[in-house]
Symmetry: C2
Subunit: 343 residues, 2 copies
Amino acid sequence: MKTPDYITFTDNPQNTLNELLATFQPDKVAFLVDENTKAHCLPLFDQSESELIVIKSGEIHKNLDTCQYIWEQMTDFGFSRKSILINLGGGVIGDMGGFCAATYKRGIRFINFPTTLLAAVDANIGGKLGVDFQGFKNHIGVFQDPDGVVVCDRFLQTLPERELRSGFAEVIKHGLIYDKNYYKGLKQSAFPNYDWNEIIKKSIGIKGAVVAEDPKEAGLRKILNFGHTLGHGIESWYLNSSKSLLHGEAISIGMIMEGFLSLKSGLINESAQKDLTEYILKVYGKYELPPLDEVLPLMLQDKKNVGNQISYSLLEGIGKCGFDQKITTDWIEEAFDYYENLK
Amino acid sequence: MKTPDYITFTDNPQNTLNELLATFQPDKVAFLVDENTKAHCLPLFDQSESELIVIKSGEIHKNLDTCQYIWEQMTDFGFSRKSILINLGGGVIGDMGGFCAATYKRGIRFINFPTTLLAAVDANIGGKLGVDFQGFKNHIGVFQDPDGVVVCDRFLQTLPERELRSGFAEVIKHGLIYDKNYYKGLKQSAFPNYDWNEIIKKSIGIKGAVVAEDPKEAGLRKILNFGHTLGHGIESWYLNSSKSLLHGEAISIGMIMEGFLSLKSGLINESAQKDLTEYILKVYGKYELPPLDEVLPLMLQDKKNVGNQISYSLLEGIGKCGFDQKITTDWIEEAFDYYENLK
């Protein structure tokens, strides 16, 4: 387990920010927020010496149009290469704000204050920055670590439970792909009794260890995509529709289906597959599935693919995961049917 | 002197490309060209197994709209992370194609075949990628080295002389900032008698040495900006007007003015300043200057600046250059007047 050294845990975000700014000595500072973090998280900071960029919340605004607005604002503030952007928000703010900072004048510093569980355990760790493009998730972006990630569980208290539960899907995933005991421990408690600071530390440790071994996703890092091949396809479909499905909700579907594919491929036994399916269903319930023929083309753009072949990351037991596995379309159909028929 | 190891000199671009592709084993390949390189340079390649992306030539198209078109095309081709983009063109194609490749699915490989002198001696070396934004030069971009740069002087033979002369401004600059004898040698010959392969090798060696010491432009690399602080401001102004001024033409003005500022600052003596002014005037002649008050705001966005203070890189002799020098606006006015009154 390795916590990346750019991460700080704190009870006092303003103090930690002051320390970081004293280190970096920026000429200008701006907060990037959405309407939610502006209302609930920004008041924890002194804003007297910083600029403010406000964007609309939601994955649907994680696109190049919003980037252009952010770049324009930084330009208007006279941001130089010595300026710093502070991303105060969830995964969308961290991914998009990071991308805008990493490309503004070919790169300025940025610090993330994740305000959602999803951002704290996943999006802010590992240096994946970017935005969606033409309905494809994170299609345009770069790899770059933030200059700081400050985790404060006071922000999580401002979250709606649905958001918290969405982030929890990545936590379950970390247990399933890397740490059997972690997974077992999660099952022994339930909302709202989790110690979030402990969970965030543990999950960051797992993700940090995987990413440190393979930062550019040439191999091992792909195991973090368990549940995400089908999950992203389903999430992309919802993104282009009028219905709402959060990232972790899509991943809950993806993990059940890819657990089923792990069983079909003979990689896990039936009791493990049943166990994870029941647990995930207990936490999330079931969601309406899009038509398979509309999800498949979206999956073809998955970044793990080579040529026109879709690659999966499938479980090889509880706490162990492989990658670059190939699955035929008729098995995907079976996985859809399997989910559809779950009680 | 150090030639970066991603550079190859060749007489047979197709052979060299075959060797690079055999090394990288891409699943898909596309050429990025403009209408000029499509007509004059692309025929030197076998295109039977590659896709083609054609954009309009000119700095005015080096923007995010064109990037979106390039990203769309790569998406339509089903480009994966194992695909390769081949940038066949001048500085615009290399900077913009490189940026699109470096950000597509968070980064795919790209190989540059510079077809202009400017691209061969400057734009393709040093990893500066990006596009213009709201009239500011290279405002959005990243630092990343190409996976290969293949120099072939057969491409230069397809260039109009005005283009060749524009690129030559960077060659003069390399002599002025780094190598007195190189500068003297350039003066002893004249168009069209230069040995371009020799010049490209020498200039790449100088730029490569400077960049290797300071890849992210924290210090020394800024000397490559001699002539570019005022030059870029003037170029940006022309970019927003209906008149045409090539990059090297703007830099010829910038070098004369910043040579004058070097003299005013007591960094070089009058005979050196007169010498470079006369030589540059002999090669380029004079161009019409934009109004100073319209150029100044454009210079405030220069990427070398910190806060609202414009930084200059001024000569400290022929073959030596400093950086982070500050100049007051009234001296800039004097520099404009000086250029205006040159015979």
